[in-house]
Symmetry: C2
């Protein structure tokens, strides 16, 4: 069992920021990544539709005999985690709880902001996860639909990104948040821009980093650390790989190669 791979899935390229952290924190693990690029994005779709897509993605990874699943997509984590845990007899790690835990640790004034897709913010998953840890923390959410196309366009540090960040973050700053959760896997690319708008007084929580730590801890507690040397990660997508390879490089921080197209629809 420990020699098996860790399966990671996302709606597209965004989850590569989580994969990057897993590679950095767990270089001895074999990783398998699936991007559902034929149906990306999940962030504007209904909970029922996202759940259906997540089940199909998870089934694909389960067939590949992974020892653990990482849902590297905030929207899918916010609606599908419980069902995935029920359905597959595997440990499943999402990106919401690790980010929520870190935010509760960091906040000093008990005012936390969360930014994400429409789906993630509407689900209220971060608010529930944060307030389960500390009911006194106030949570303010803001959906930022332009951030994903800005990151994919390579405009994360363009004046347009700065202007969009000012617009989206103004209400959160009015609430005097001192901590902001980047509740979408694309957003770490915008860290510099967000920092410029927020200044030094607001701490940024990168769910990808925290998720890496939770995965490492879970592997340890279940004696699932791999002993043999891994191959490079394997990448699968549900549409032609061209765009994933081109856009994904910026998210992974290295050239993407050998991406394979697969069919994951249950039909």
């Amino acid at each position: 069992m420990p020699e098996r791979a860790i399966g990671v899935f996302d709606s597209g390229v965004g989850g590569l920021t989580v994969l990057k952290e897993l590679l950095r924190q767990l270089p001895s693990e074999q990783l398998v990544y699936l991007g559902d690029t034929a149906r990306v994005p999940y962030g504007t779709k209904s909970p029922g539709t996202v759940l259906r897509y997540a089940l199909e993605a998870a089934a694909f990874l389960a067939q590949r005999q992974v020892k653990m699943m990482v849902v590297a997509c905030n929207t899918a984590s916010s609606v599908a985690l419980d069902v995935l845990e029920d359905r597959f007899s595997l440990p499943v790690v999402g990106v919401i709880e690790p980010g929520a835990k870190k935010a509760v640790e960091l906040t000093r004034n008990g005012k936390v902001g969360v930014i994400g897709t429409e789906g993630t913010i509407k689900s209220g998953a971060y608010t529930r996860a944060i307030q389960a840890l500390d009911p006194a923390v106030e949570v303010y959410g803001a959906a930022c639909p332009l951030f994903v196309p800005l990151a994919e366009e390579g405009w994360a540090e363009h004046p347009i990104a700065r202007m969009a960040a000012e617009e989206y973050l103004a209400p959160l700053l009015e609430h005097e948040i001192d901590t902001l959760v980047l509740g979408c896997t694309h957003y770490p690319l915008l860290k510099n821009t967000l920092h410029q708008v927020l200044g030094d007084r607001v701490a940024l929580v990168d769910s990808a980093e925290e998720t890496g730590r939770v995965v490492a801890k879970m592997l340890g507690s279940r004696s699932l650390f791999r002993a043999s040397v891994p191959c490079c990660p394997r990448f699968y997508v549900s549409d032609v790989p061209t765009r994933f390879e081109r856009v994904g490089g910026a998210f992974l921080g290295e050239v993407l190669q050998g991406v394979q197209q697969v069919s994951i629809e249950a039909g």
Copy 2:
């Protein structure tokens, strides 16, 4: 046959700008609209995947006994039109050729710009359609991925839209285009912003308007005009209707009601 409805499909809400024109130009026709909101957008997906989705959408409309199909999506029109015409024994109208024809009529210096999704621009469909009419016309394309989220966010006239338009249109202005085709059904919402950036010397071609004219002409030439009074248009979507109803109102220019969710995946 003339009493049957006209079927219109798009990946989501964008095609409502085409539907709006059909309602305006052909108030006596019954219209059926399908938005594939469970898989929107098509513009970043591969031609093969878009073709598969378009075939499923068209099959849904064919089952509803429509007399004609309008592909109210530039990306789908650019890759699927010939196959749809082959597969279904119905007249099929796309949005590319009507826009191309208008651009050739309007240009005085023979330099035409086309803006659209990544998929539409990459397909080269507008260039082929324009140069089939006049091989001497030079066509310059630019993909504008931020325009769709800007339109859906209600930010079509926001300074951010202006800045994005300046960035995207700069290379086209360097080529001294005098005509610009709005090659995506979302873009008519950005007309004012585009006009501000381009000035009076560049004519804008709205494919929706031109498509309405082509549909009217085709109904006339085939004696397919409806005689009886139509009901209000019927709307179907492949995901939960909430977001479609909310965002779509701005595209249609009136309140959207009675939208039904349907399953269109072939499985």
